[in-house]
């Protein structure tokens, strides 16, 4: 049994069919990267997985539990699924420390002191211990995103979903965030939507190429970059490599 199983997901907005039958599985501690052009439903897929935007059809299992079942306590499930947003979405009225500890305090009901100890540890892990008492507006984009990652990590998730975590960042700030993500590989499962081909090539266990609401091709990075089976994959990777650089 896989840790995460996504089976035949369909999602439409009005008459626009965004996802047309997506299926894949993920194992414990695995890192998978989803690539593809904008508007092919990559972000929608992530939101269908943690049920922020439940799919119209299809099922998702996490650790053997069907989480698409409307009867399930989704708030409990979401504690196990971290989410890192493109535009960070840090809680504006809380310090970095509080941003990380609030989930522990209010959702997991851990005592304040213990929760803050844990939060400090997570901030240290992403290299932001010094910024613990700053508010989001006082942090740079890269720092905000690392707080976002610490917030997800603190909940001890089985998997973290990353929705283009670096696309809102200035180029010189991307590296810090990617380094943190690299350091997590193998410790927690990660499903990453990104255009960072260097990250995909070096960190991912598997690359999933999506287009038009379906998975066109998936495989280990080496195979995907060196000899993809499908012509369209080759085209896309060729184009994106010239845009973003090979590494």
């Amino acid at each position: 049994m896989s840790m995460l199983e996504v089976k035949n997901i369909y999602k439409s907005y009005g008459t626009l069919e965004v996802l047309k039958g997506i299926s894949f599985t993920m194992e414990k501690h695995e890192t998978k990267v989803i690539i593809g052009t904008s508007g092919t439903g990559k972000s929608t897929l992530l939101k269908c997985i943690n049920q922020l935007d439940p799919p119209d059809k299809g099922k998702v299992w996490l650790e053997g539990q069907e989480i698409t079942n409307p009867k399930i306590d989704i708030n409990k499930i979401r504690q196990k699924i971290g989410f890192v947003f493109q535009d960070f979405n840090l809680f504006n009225h809380l310090t970095a420390l509080k941003n990380v500890s609030i989930g522990l305090e209010k959702v997991k009901k851990i005592e304040k002191e213990q929760a803050q100890d844990r939060a400090i540890k997570e901030l240290q892990r992403v290299g932001l211990k010094k910024q613990a008492h700053q508010y989001p507006a006082q942090l740079s984009g890269g720092q905000k995103q690392r707080v976002g990652i610490a917030r997800a990590l603190a909940m001890d998730p089985s998997i973290i979903l990353f929705d283009e975590p670096t696309s809102a960042l200035d180029p010189e700030l991307i590296g810090d965030v990617l380094d943190v993500m690299k350091s997590l590989a193998g410790e927690v499962a990660m499903l990453v939507v990104t255009h960072e081909m260097g990250f995909a090539r070096n960190v991912a266990d598997e690359i999933i190429f999506m287009e038009g609401g379906v998975i066109v091709e998936n495989g280990p990075p080496k195979q995907m970059f060196q000899n993809p089976k499908i012509e369209r994959t080759k085209q896309f990777l060729g184009k994106i490599s010239t845009l973003y650089g090979k590494e």
């Binding site: 979405n89 809680f91 504006n92 009225h93 209010k106 959702v107």
Partner: protein
């Protein structure tokens, strides 16, 4: 001599002032609670609730306060329901102020990015917890300037309760004037001064509160 009249009437005016302050605090208290609930209802609940709240707003913003007071006090009396003037005044002020405060809280809610709620849900908070820990604290901070303005408006509006016979600052002033008509100007000026000092210090106090709870990046442009 003018100072004597003012000094002599001072205790009586202070008695009226206590009623004015009591009236203001009680009305603002109830109005704020109602308005917060309705503002959240307007932004986060399903039809027909937002529509009904909108109707409420339109009605109570459309009726002059004086008419509302008379309607509540004398109208209800005619229907056989007799209530204390103070209570009638609180009901009128609160219903009226709620209609205005809904807008204050609602525009604060609207200025909170949608991602805040989504992020709260994604760490496993229920709708209720997300409101309680993420949305409402931000809403309250953002509302302070508009709310403190409304607070002083209610304070000033309490003087209209003279029409139904609440013995507030204004009415005590009238008693003195009736007794000593030649002192009218001094007494009225003194009453005006008291209102002014009250409004001024409330604004001062609340802008301190605003600075105290300021969060970098969450400042509100103070247009007052």
């Amino acid at each position: 001599m003018a100072i004597d009249i003012v000094l002599d009437s001072f205790p009586q005016l202070m008695k009226g002032l206590a009623v004015t302050i009591g009236l203001t605090l009680t009305s603002v208290f109830f109005a704020s609670i109602l308005a917060i609930i309705m503002a959240i209802g307007r932004s986060y609940s399903r039809q027909p609730i937002p529509f009904l709240i909108l109707i409420y707003e339109k009605i109570f913003r459309g009726i002059p306060l004086l008419v509302l007071f008379i309607l509540i006090y004398f109208g209800l009396a005619q229907a056989g329901i007799i209530i204390d003037v103070f209570i009638a005044a609180v009901i009128g002020l609160a219903l009226h102020s709620t209609a205005y405060q809904i807008q204050i809280f609602r525009s604060a809610i609207n200025s909170i990015p949608e991602g805040q709620f989504t992020a709260a849900r994604s760490v496993g908070m229920s709708n209720f917890k997300a409101m309680r820990h993420i949305i409402i604290p931000q809403m309250l901070r953002l509302s302070i300037p508009g709310w403190s303005n409304e607070f002083t408006i209610v304070l000033k509006d309490t003087s209209i309760t003279i029409a139904i016979g609440v013995i507030d600052l204004m009415r005590q002033g009238r008693y003195i004037i009736v007794r000593e008509p030649e002192s009218a100007l001094y007494i009225l000026l003194f009453i005006a001064l008291i209102y002014f000092i009250l409004v001024f210090s409330i604004n001062r106090g609340l802008s301190y509160l605003e600075k105290r709870y300021i969060i970098s990046g969450l400042e509100v442009n103070n247009t007052r």
